[in-house]
Amino acid sequence: MRLQYPSDIKVIIIPCTGKIDILHILHAFEKGADGVYVVGCMEGDCHYTNGNLRARSRIKHIQKILDTIGIGGERAQMYNLSSNDGPRFAEIAVEMDEKIRKLGPNPIKLAQNTAA
């Protein structure tokens, strides 16, 4: 369909959102990501039965951590969509991009830049 979505998004493919690790997401923030979002199958329709539900609770947990350490929980989000729903994928990308732009750069990056 050749849909356009914001170019500042890096896609990392994992077999199932149930594979996302809190450590990996925090590492992304450490490396300067301004936001991270996880896109899984629709709830109730996980290809691997229930991985997306595990992912959802992990994202909630990460949001808490991010809030606590002052990065802001909103920077991590979970979305669900069907894999044939390209338009929705693009829509989510735009939504996330706008949200993160409003929030501004990741404070860790700012701190690192100042330290440097």
Partner: protein, 1146 residues
């Protein structure tokens, strides 16, 4: 063991075609999957949501065994399996030969857009001047004449709608890869001769056709035409029928004698249509009625031109054919068009409504109606439009529409955040499938969908508002009127186009409505051995039944190929053993596709190469022009063979397309699949960011940066890739079947006939299950025939050991090797080893105490009635009045499911009694008559025979009282609105079916049962006979209530699923599979709980967590929950993931 080899043809690539093709491919056969449409997926490509989950989930059909043979990718987008060759826009033109050795010829429609050259850039769409309604989106949006038939399909070449195309050639001019050939010069060589005695006719036709680019000549008479034909060859002749002297028919005869290849179209006045039809019998290929519109003529000539171009290919030998041609839908604008479809814009069909619901449709998922984009607030569904209608010769039920309507109503309500009122107008709500009844109840009680029994008689559109005024009568006879924003017509089915022709070609028969007819007790076998029916081709079916039946058809096809020797496909290629590179440092070869000169036009690729080479793991970097083409790929393979890297990174687009190629490449150069990785460069996206044609230096730096980051992420994964080959699981190639009813016996035979040992365990002394007392089915087929045949074949089969009076005491093990202890009353206790298990433990008629069952001998169950009839203990001549009560203790909690066969049985019994004594008064009290599919015609027959059907509500059931030995039934009769009292000589209770699947037996094999005690399948639609634990399958009544033919279909499907495991000596795991480092493991067992497939167990003797790699599907849940990183997922280790993240932000 040498792998079984052979080839099958699957005709039709809808859901059942895909299932049949995958089943055969997983078993090791080569499959040619064809479809006359330019895309796969059939009707499901337009359906985004399926009940009961109201989601998709088609990907769950992907192979679980040897899963790397197929791309693990959205199946609605595309199917990529190395044993399946897909041929689109292709039709079957002839079949010759015998089972096991059919010679088939295929014809591919010429494609004006070359699918190999088309890169899908969409430049053509921008310039196309034609806009037409888009049929994919049910005409709610428009598309160009050059378009994508299914927007989400992959690969997705453009196609041209020849009816809409003006042949302007603009698209051809802009196509960057010269994929389009539309303009006139291409059919200049197609020569047309126009013969008519009227000058004006022949001259105008000549002019029209020449404008379209054909070469045209004219003749004023028959003899002149023959003279012209003798001088030069023509491909098409258009001739008038009535001409002075030699008429058109005589000309046709003479022309065909001398030039048999010429295609002839007869032109006729209305009065001589019959002559034209006669002419077609002697060789004319079509006719046109004068006067005709130029467009009609041109379209027909184009069609002939395309047929001419689509020269048949050389015959291909296949062992068997599976016909999965699907069905078509009733067009409600035909005939009387009571509901104004096509007249009122807000009257849509159920298929149109799917597109309205689809979030992929262009309204961004907002639910609005077509006429004025007003948000939908009140929608009505009308059931049985084009079904259950004798007036239009549709005395059948279309099987899926009731559930389809409920699902649409629920999804619509969800979409509108409950601000939508939904009403379904129906006659019987046919919720006969497993879990359907509860789905309906939830829709009604929890979500507030309104179910209105009765028929709608009229729709009038309110001119001012565009609303629809619906007039209907409920079953008390009250007339009502109601306003709706939109009306959805649940359209019934019709045979798919071309069904009759195909049936005639292969020699199979059709039923009275034109659907294909299967043999008795079978849904898949036809009168022609080796030609099987899959899915809806024999009448519409829901996904669950289609998938089951497609697997059953695949099994039957496989059996034909197997028994006829089957070795038509090339021997499986033996390949070099994988290289041991575990001690070598990574030497990555990076191959970047430049997409023609797209990339090299922008910058010197060496800039990118230099950047990549800063990574010490990168050995060499090459740039290739088009890796997606055959030539481009050959170049790539040459480079790999020359430089022998130990890891390969390919940067291209659409990585899914490369899975087959990279597996082949890996085998060729000895690299395990995990060492070859393809990343998506998103080159087109990078380019679209550029502001103008000459990018600035900054923009170029940004692109190089982006590309090297994408490639860097791939490198990070590859560098740490584990070079050990995927583990394999040894399979003990024997099966255990538990249960010796018709399902169990069928399954055992199917497996043994493929050459594998089977043990069959039956608790009774006799095999046969319910067929030992059930004498005939509704159609009158005698069950003894099939029972005896099956029992005979089974008992004499050298590979089947039957253990009667035996039961399973316990079982241990997993797919590949189970150890099961059997207690045999005669032989004592022993242990069997087997690789797979099929549970066919059956079911039985439920017992009851309702309706005073135990108070009188004249109150009996359906089974007791059948037995009485069979044993001649019942004398219909002595009966005056018989009452049958449906849904006894069923379709309400706790047994809130439909047993599917009881309505069928009551119809059968009522008709049987009426045949023997037409004077018996028979009353059937029912809630919804579940006469689904073609059973409907028996419901009609019963009503014609005078059987009286009285509906009752579950809140007000009939009452049966016994006084002094006589029985009275009292009930409310809703039509007359009064209480009635009937004296009955006999009361028959339809108590339904309960499964006999003991919980401890299920647990012994690690499977679960649902709340009603039936086998819980891995997924009701997509994996209907599998358990979530690999290697255990179920069929027959233990699975769900079904009739005999349907039970046999589940048995065949289950054995097909079992065979795809049994056929491997060693079953390969996928390349992405979980591992465990025992030294780090603290035995917390969290991974065991997390694994959705039960692939992990704790071995108490070894004190280790053990993984069965064949059961592991590589989701990685275990790796994430492991607190010590002892559990890892190959290809996604922490080191890889962290490195990938680093590269992403470099």
């Amino acid at each position: 063991m040498k792998k079984k080899i052979g080839k099958a043809l699957v005709v039709g690539s809808g859901i059942s075609g895909i299932r049949a093709a995958l089943d055969l491919a997983e078993f090791g056969y080569g499959v040619i999957l064809i479809d006359r449409l330019p895309h796969i997926g059939g009707i499901l490509s337009q359906l985004d949501y399926q009940f009961p989950t109201d989601r998709c989930g088609m990907c769950k059909m992907l192979p679980l065994v040897d899963r790397d043979a197929s791309s693990q990718y959205c199946l609605r987008k595309g199917l990529f399996h190395e044993n399946i060759q897909i041929r689109l826009s292709t039709e079957l033109t002839s079949v010759e030969g015998e089972p096991g050795h059919f010679q088939v010829t295929l014809r591919q429609k010429p494609r004006l857009v070359d699918p190999v050259l088309c890169v899908g850039c969409g430049e053509c769409v921008k310039v196309c001047p034609v806009e037409v309604p888009d049929s994919f989106h049910a005409g709610m949006t428009t598309r160009k004449a050059i378009y994508l038939p299914v927007p989400h399909a992959i690969p997705n070449p453009y196609v041209i709608d020849m009816e809409a195309c003006t042949r302007c050639g603009d698209c051809e001019a802009v196509c960057p890869t010269d994929a389009i050939k539309v303009s006139e010069h291409i059919h200049r060589d197609f020569r047309v001769l126009v013969v008519d005695d009227e000058l004006i006719v022949r001259d105008s036709i000549k002019e029209w056709l020449e404008d379209e680019g054909f070469t045209v000549n004219v003749a004023a008479s028959g003899p002149e035409a023959l003279d012209i034909l003798s001088k030069q060859s023509y491909q098409l002749m258009l001739t008038d029928i009535k001409m002075p002297g030699m008429g058109g028919v005589e000309l046709l005869q003479k022309a065909k004698e001398d030039f048999p290849d010429i295609c002839v179209i007869m032109m006729t006045a209305y009065a001589t249509v019959e002559t034209a039809v006669e002419a077609m019998k002697i060789g004319a290929s079509d006719y046109l009625i004068k006067p005709f519109e130029p467009d009609n003529l041109i379209q027909m000539v184009f069609q002939k031109y395309q047929e001419h171009e689509a020269a048949s290919e050389a015959p291909i030998e296949v062992g068997a054919l599976v016909l999965c041609g699907g069905t078509a839908y009733f067009n409600p604008s035909e005939g009387e068009n009571t509901f104004g479809y096509g007249v009122y814009p807000n009257v849509v069909t159920s298929l149109d409504f799917e597109r309205i619901l689809s979030s992929a449709a262009l309204q961004q998922g907002r639910l609005v109606r077509p006429s004025d984009s007003k948000p939908l607030r009140k929608v009505a569904w009308f059931q049985c439009v084009g079904s259950r209608d004798i007036k239009i010769d549709a005395d059948f039920c279309s099987f899926v529409c009731c559930m389809h309507a409920i699902k649409e109503a629920l999804v619509a309500k969800e979409r509108a955040e409950d601000e939508l009122e939904a009403a379904i107008f129906y006659m019987d709500m046919r919720t006969f499938g497993k879990s359907f009844q509860r789905y309906r109840c939830q829709a009604e009680t929890k979500h507030g969908v309104r179910f209105e029994r009765g028929r709608v008689h009229s729709i009038i559109q309110d001119e001012a508002s565009g609303d629809l005024i619906v007039g209907h009568v409920d079953y008390t006879g009250t007339h009502k009127e109601e306003h709706f924003d939109m009306v959805v017509l649940s359209v019934g089915q019709r045979p798919a186009p071309g069904t009759a022709e195909l049936a005639e070609m292969v020699g199979i028969s059709l039923n009275q409505w034109g659907f294909c007819k299967a043999e008795p007790f079978s849904e898949t076998l036809t009168s022609q051995e080796g030609i099987l029916l899959g899915g809806s081709f024999s009448g519409l079916k829901d996904i669950n039944d289609s998938v089951i039946q497609a697997s059953a058809a695949a099994l039957a096809a496989s059996l034909v190929i197997h028994t006829t020797g089957g070795s038509l496909l090339l021997e499986p290629k033996s390949h070099e053993p994988f290289l041991d590179i575990s001690q070598e440092p990574p030497r990555v070869m990076v191959l970047v596709c430049t997409c023609g000169d797209t990339l090299s036009k922008l910058f010197d690729p060496q800039q990118l190469a230099r950047r990549l080479k800063t990574d010490p793991g990168v050995d060499r970097v090459f740039f290739l022009e088009q890796t997606c083409t055959a030539a481009g790929w050959e170049n790539l393979v040459e480079l790999v063979e020359k430089h022998k890297p130990n890891r390969i990174l390919i940067g291209a687009c659409i990585p899914y397309l490369y899975s087959r190629k990279t597996r082949e490449l890996g085998r060729r150069v000895g690299l395990v699949p995990g060492l070859i990785h393809v990343v998506n460069l998103r080159l087109m996206d990078q380019l679209s960011k550029l502001k103008d044609e000459t990018p600035s230096a900054d923009e170029i730096t940004a692109i190089i940066h982006e590309l090297s980051s994408i490639l860097g992420m791939g490198l990070a994964r590859l560098k740490w890739a584990d070079p050990t080959p995927a583990p394999r699981v040894k399979i003990f190639q024997q099966a255990l079947v538990v249960g010796g009813g018709i399902a169990g016996m069928t399954a055992a035979l199917a497996i043994a006939d493929h050459g594998f040992q089977v043990d069959l365990v039956e608790k009774e002394e006799m095999l046969g299950g319910n067929l030992t007392w059930l004498e005939r089915d509704l159609e009158g087929n005698i069950t003894e025939i099939i029972l005896e045949k099956t029992r005979h074949n089974l008992e004499k089969h050298p590979l089947i050991r039957v253990h009667t009076r035996s039961r399973v005491l316990g079982s241990y093990g997993q797919v590949g090797r189970f150890y099961t202890t059997i207690e045999d009353k005669a032989k004592g206790t022993f242990t069997l080893e087997h690789g797979v298990t099929i549970l066919a433990t059956g079911g039985m008629e439920a017992t009851t105490t309702s309706y005073n069952y135990d108070k009188s001998e004249a109150i009996i169950t359906q089974k007791e009635l059948e037995q009485k009839i069979n044993d001649n203990k019942l004398h219909p001549s002595q009966l005056e009045s018989v009452v049958m009560i449906q849904c006894v203790d069923s379709r309400e909690e706790p047994r809130n499911y439909c047993s599917r066969i009881c309505c069928d049985t009551s119809l059968k019994d009522a008709l049987c009694l009426k045949r023997q004594n037409p004077d018996i008064d028979i009353y059937i009290f029912y809630r919804d008559i579940m006469a689904y599919g073609f059973v409907e015609s028996y419901y009609t027959q019963a009503r014609k025979a005078g059987v009286i059907f009285i509906p009752y509500d579950v809140a007000e059931k009939p009452r049966v009282t016994v006084t002094d030995g006589s029985i009275q039934v009292t009930a409310s009769e809703p039509i007359i609105g009064q209480k009635i009292r009937l004296d009955a000589d006999l009361v028959v209770l339809a108590t339904g079916i309960v499964p006999t699947l003991p919980k401890d037996l299920a647990e012994a094999f690690g499977v679960t049962v649902d709340q009603d005690g039936f086998f819980q399948e891995a997924e009701t639609k997509w994996r209907p006979v599998d358990s979530i634990k690999e290697g255990v399958f179920a069929c027959g009544l233990a699975h769900s209530p079904r009739n005999i033919a349907e039970s046999i279909a589940t048995a065949r499907a289950a054995s097909q699923r079992a065979l795809r495991i049994l056929c491997h000596e060693h079953m390969p795991a996928g390349k992405v599979v979980a591992e465990i480092h025992h030294s780090l493991c603290s035995l917390c067992e969290q991974c065991i709980d997390a694994c959705p497939y039960g692939a992990r167990t704790l071995d108490l003797d070894l004190e280790k967590v053990i993984i069965n790699p064949a059961m592991c599907q590589g989701c990685g849940s275990c790796a994430t929950v492991c607190p010590n990183s002892a559990s890892t997922l190959v290809g996604f280790s922490d080191r890889q993931m962290l490195d990938v993240i680093d590269s992403a932000f470099e």
